[in-house]
């Protein structure tokens, strides 16, 4: 890995702090409480390379990204490229994300926001617009509407393209495939494959296991993170109720315990399409039988 300089803003002014380092995000015992309930319950993870956080809705995936982006109060430790999150100021090209609120700097049209954010983060606006074009979002639409006036899918494409155009060392992508048609999903997946920095993406869709077999996968359930496991292994894994000695992972949920296993029995993970169905499988008497294969 190449050494690089990370510019930090401290109270005495700008300093350039040379850091030998590899791009990575680490979190230790990360806990986040929102509205009185604990959304993240002690997460430990090191993201280096390409990672997928796969989990059902409400599992804390987005909150994890928001905590890493410095948008929610947290307990525990978050480091980006070896630097505590709290000390990072003016750290251009260190982290980019597609979380929409991050782009609402001024109440102007989306295209102006794209120019503004490109200017502030040294992003390549031409690359962002080219990617948006590939995702079916034209410049004309962006020139007419404000960010919150765009449809949810267009807004997501806009923020994802902009996050990638920053060419930051670390990128967090929250549900980047949401509301894209299959052809555009494939296009975006190929962009993500080509990206040279750390990419951490979250989703609840299991098709990514086949599309991105070389990525590391963390499973998120009820504020906890399990893994990582190579996507290739999970591609053929099945869900069984209870636990098994040879399980790749065993996960505790409020609806019950289940394991991911390779080989015979259970229900193929990719067959679920979305991990939201795990709860349905664990709680519905009619389909629960398909998860036989583990010990309770």
């Amino acid at each position: 890995m190449n050494a690089y300089s990370l510019e930090l803003r401290v109270s005495s002014g700008f300093i350039t702090m040379p850091t030998r380092g590899i791009s990575m995000i680490t979190v230790e015992n990360l806990r986040v409480k929102l509205g009185g309930s604990e959304v993240l319950r002690g997460i430990d993870a090191a993201f280096r390379g390409k990672h997928v956080v796969l989990g059902p809705n409400g599992s804390g995936k987005t909150t994890l990204f928001r905590a890493i982006s410095g948008l929610v109060p947290y307990r525990g430790r978050i480091e980006i490229d070896g630097h505590p999150l709290g000390r990072l100021k003016g750290a251009v090209k260190v982290l980019a994300t597609n979380i929409a609120e991050v782009y609402q700097l001024a109440p102007v049209k989306a295209l102006e926001l794209l120019n503004l954010f490109s200017d502030l983060s040294d992003a390549d606006p031409v690359r962002a617009l080219a990617l948006l074009e590939e995702l079916g979002v034209g410049e004309e639409l962006l020139a007419k509407r404000r960010l919150w006036e765009l449809s949810a899918g267009t807004r997501k494409a806009f923020t994802t393209a902009l996050a990638l155009a920053v060419n930051a060392k670390n990128v967090l992508l929250d549900e980047p495939f949401e509301q894209l048609d299959p052809a555009k999903k494939v296009k975006l997946a190929s962009e993500l494959e080509k990206y040279s920095g750390v990419v951490v993406m979250n989703t609840h869709e299991t098709w990514v296991l086949e599309a991105l077999p070389d990525w590391e996968v963390h499973l998120a359930f009820e504020g906890r993170l399990y893994g990582p496991i190579p996507a290739r292994k999970l591609e053929n894994a099945a869900i069984v109720e209870g636990w098994r000695d040879d399980a790749l992972l065993t996960i505790e949920t409020r609806a019950g315990r289940f394991s991911l296993v390779e080989g015979e029995g259970g229900r193929a993970l990719t067959e679920l399409l979305t991990l939201d169905r795990v709860y349905e499988l664990l709680t519905s008497a009619s389909v629960r039988g398909s998860l036989r294969g583990g010990r309770r």
Binding site: R66, G70, L71, Q104, A106, D119, L120
Partner: protein
């Protein structure tokens, strides 16, 4: 001008909600003031006296209705400060927009926007006066009027910021009454047209400045309030003598009061900025 300053200012000057409250709402009250509240009874006084009366009337209108315009814009400032809080938290960490740069440029954009809407109100008052009476009445000391409006802008900027950050610190994103505070303040000041607070006026943010604006725009001595109470102002003007308010306002004390309020609100705002650091802003940002 940096892109952030340019876009922030452009956003504030083109935001539909701010345009409505800062221009349409204000225009309604300007028209009410000139066409409904301004009554000429009896024979018209000599032209020079009439022009002086119109000058004072215009000064009162642009000052106190300007306060309503500025208060409305300040609500918009609070709303945008609130909605962009997550973006600012991220941008000051991971882009070239450092906290100092953000504070300076946001402050400049906010003050310029408030003054711009106040000047639009001045133009509306002058135009409406001309439309009804056929006389163009311009402020006596335009530069001083603009300077006092800028001070109003500074005061209201810090007030709106303190309000937005207080809502974030309280974790109450939708407190309409708190968000409306700048407009309530403007309305409270509006009441001093009839109510003379005496020396207590120095304790009320904005009120002393509005009196100084009236004075700068009309040339009459500033009052601590009660401009329209008991008819002292109009009686003096009709007689062709310089009006003497029952309680004169001290300009140095008025400026000191404004400075104290601005500093106090800036201090509260900056303290709250630190306090709300890391609050779950995404819960409050509009989707």
């Amino acid at each position: 001008m940096t892109l952030y300053l340019y876009y922030k200012l452009k956003g504030l000057l083109t935001d539909r909600s701010i345009l409505f409250w800062g221009l349409v709402f204000t225009l309604f009250w300007v028209l009410m003031w000139i066409y409904a509240f301004t009554r000429i009874e009896g024979p018209l006084p000599p032209p020079e006296v009439f022009e002086e009366i119109l000058r004072v009337n215009t000064a009162l209108a642009l000052s106190y209705l300007g306060a309503l315009a500025m208060g409305s814009v300040a609500i918009g400032l609070a709303a945008t400060a609130f909605a962009s809080s997550s973006a600012v938290a991220f941008a000051t960490r991971f882009t070239k927009l450092t906290p100092t740069k953000y504070l300076v440029e946001d402050f400049m954009a906010g003050v310029v926007a408030v003054v711009a809407y106040a000047l639009a109100c001045v133009a509306m008052v002058v135009a409406a006066t001309y439309a009804r009476f056929g006389v163009i009445v311009l402020p006596e000391s335009p530069a001083l009027v603009v300077a006092y409006l800028a001070l109003c802008g500074i005061l209201l900027y810090w007030l709106s910021r303190a309000v937005a950050l207080a809502m974030l610190a309280l974790g109450k994103p939708r407190l309409p009454l708190l968000q409306m505070l700048p407009l309530f303040l403007a309305l409270l000041n509006y009441a001093t047209l009839w109510l003379d607070l005496g020396d207590k006026v120095y304790a009320l943010p904005l009120a002393p400045l509005l009196s100084l604006i009236v004075s700068a725009a009309s040339g009459v001595e500033p009052a601590t309030g009660g401009w329209l109470a008991e008819g002292w102002l109009w009686r003096s003007l009709a007689r062709g003598v310089a009006p003497e308010p029952p309680n004169a306002l001290s300009a140095p004390l008025a400026l000191a009061s404004t400075a104290a309020w601005a500093l106090a609100l800036a201090a509260v705002s900056l303290t709250l900025t630190r306090k709300v650091k890391g609050v779950a802003l995404e819960e409050f940002a509009p989707s």
